[in-house]
Subunit: 289 residues, 2 copies
Amino acid sequence: MQNRDAGKPVAKFLIVGQNSGKHGMKDEGRMDAVNDETISKRARGLDRAFEILEFLRVRREPAKPNEIAAQIGAPRSSVYELVNLLLRNGIVEYTGAEGRIYLGRKLYFLGAAYEDHFDFMRECDRVLDQLASETRETAQFCMLDGNKYAVVRMREGARPFRISSDVGRPVPIPWTASGRLLVGDMSDAEILDFIPAEDFRLPNGEWLPPEQFIAEVRGAVAAGEFTFNSIVDSFTHCFAVPVKAADGKVIATVCLVAPRDDGLKHRQSYLNSLKHAAAELTSKGGPDT
Amino acid sequence: MQNRDAGKPVAKFLIVGQNSGKHGMKDEGRMDAVNDETISKRARGLDRAFEILEFLRVRREPAKPNEIAAQIGAPRSSVYELVNLLLRNGIVEYTGAEGRIYLGRKLYFLGAAYEDHFDFMRECDRVLDQLASETRETAQFCMLDGNKYAVVRMREGARPFRISSDVGRPVPIPWTASGRLLVGDMSDAEILDFIPAEDFRLPNGEWLPPEQFIAEVRGAVAAGEFTFNSIVDSFTHCFAVPVKAADGKVIATVCLVAPRDDGLKHRQSYLNSLKHAAAELTSKGGPDT
DNA sequence: ATCAGATGTCCAATATAACGGACATAACGA
DNA sequence: TCGTTATGTCCGTTATATTGGACATCTGAT
């Protein structure tokens, strides 16, 4: 469906949230929204606000404040208050009918500024373009988003029926080929701690034993690639290779999503293209150091 | 410089923040950040947070928390606190060296979701593409952002030296051709109230008498177009025509930015293309009703 | 007509977020 | 060397933001 500007030129880079250990600012909390332990009574407005935005983002359609409150389990009065603040700031907007609201233009602008900042992303698009035209398959650039996998950038292939996915939609790591590479730098324990247990339950209901997943991770890292018939559907074959930062850490992946028969038929040539692409991105270095 | 995906396909629409009068939610505050009257002592965290994001956006490069505090005139301790919250949420990220921070990936995702939601934007890109290829000039889709003008979508022309502007950067309304159309629905008093007085000071230091501006507005609305040698530089000629919502209100403009000689030479044909483009967008209706 | 749920508004109580200012380093010139 | 500035941290005070709940409509179902 989607397909956000798999297009032409475009912006720049993307940093891993690696907090880089040293310079300043204590690393306190970590983790997503959830509190650490003692259930603190009142939630912070700012956190709630981003919960609302996140809710709208995954829902992908407008909602009424009342409904939002119910869905995210927040006090209605708080949500109304926050929604008003967000409206004032242009972060959310009234949409068409019925006081429903949705993500606002300001967010678009902020996102655009993010893109602009990173030269790497432009490079990334160039590489994806080339990949897609070489293989005629859908090419993607993927990263971790918290403890989920997400497509950051995508270029659809040149088929009559194109395969694509939502940019930015969080997907459980074990469901994806890239997932095998993106957690490659962690120890077994870290991986198990990092990935929510329920994410090993595949969309078809099957249970992927974490040990098996970890074994695949180790294999993928060693091989510098991972390919499989996707486990989220029945017709695609996925190819993923790592993109590494200067220090050798895996910061992203480049992927191809192909129909199964084509995937198997062109396996070697696809992998070659992919590795070439990843090498180009890797050499361009990571963050704007 | 920039040039965010003037590219191919892409997303959807864009709503005017028109608050549409009726349904629910009292319209309280209005306006940008600034308080209404009594200088309330403490600023709200959420507002401050977006002030920070906005600051980074216009600055267009990373900054240290300390510096941000100084620049936006906020207490340092507050800024440090907020920055930490934003970091936790992935809204801002550490960038390269020195605890500097910048807009984060999450914002990119939120912005992408905004785009996706609106079919109109896809249509818009199609129209801009066509405009740009017809005329070989830079084509833009512009709207108001609060009480400023902003380019929402852009397609660069096919010249060796291309003309472009930043997507989303706020520009004083009187500096732009589109500005003459975008405030066309307001009364004289409303216009003067809406546009900050200092925005009538042009970038070259000259003072544009508000009466003159208003006269131009009335003329532009009547003609359904506005063209002039840009007052922000010495080499461009700008063309703007309105895009209207179903109710006839001007919600946006489509523009061309051309070198002066070409602009004058092809004036009529450019205007024709532009009006055709605007008509297409207008007929596609506004918001996702 | 009646009822239950969904929706928006208002308000007082109190947990706490924003603030100012003190403190500790690091970086930098003179 | 020393003083000055830039930077990050910590903490007590207090203004206030968040919250629960009461209220008022509106809707649709029965």
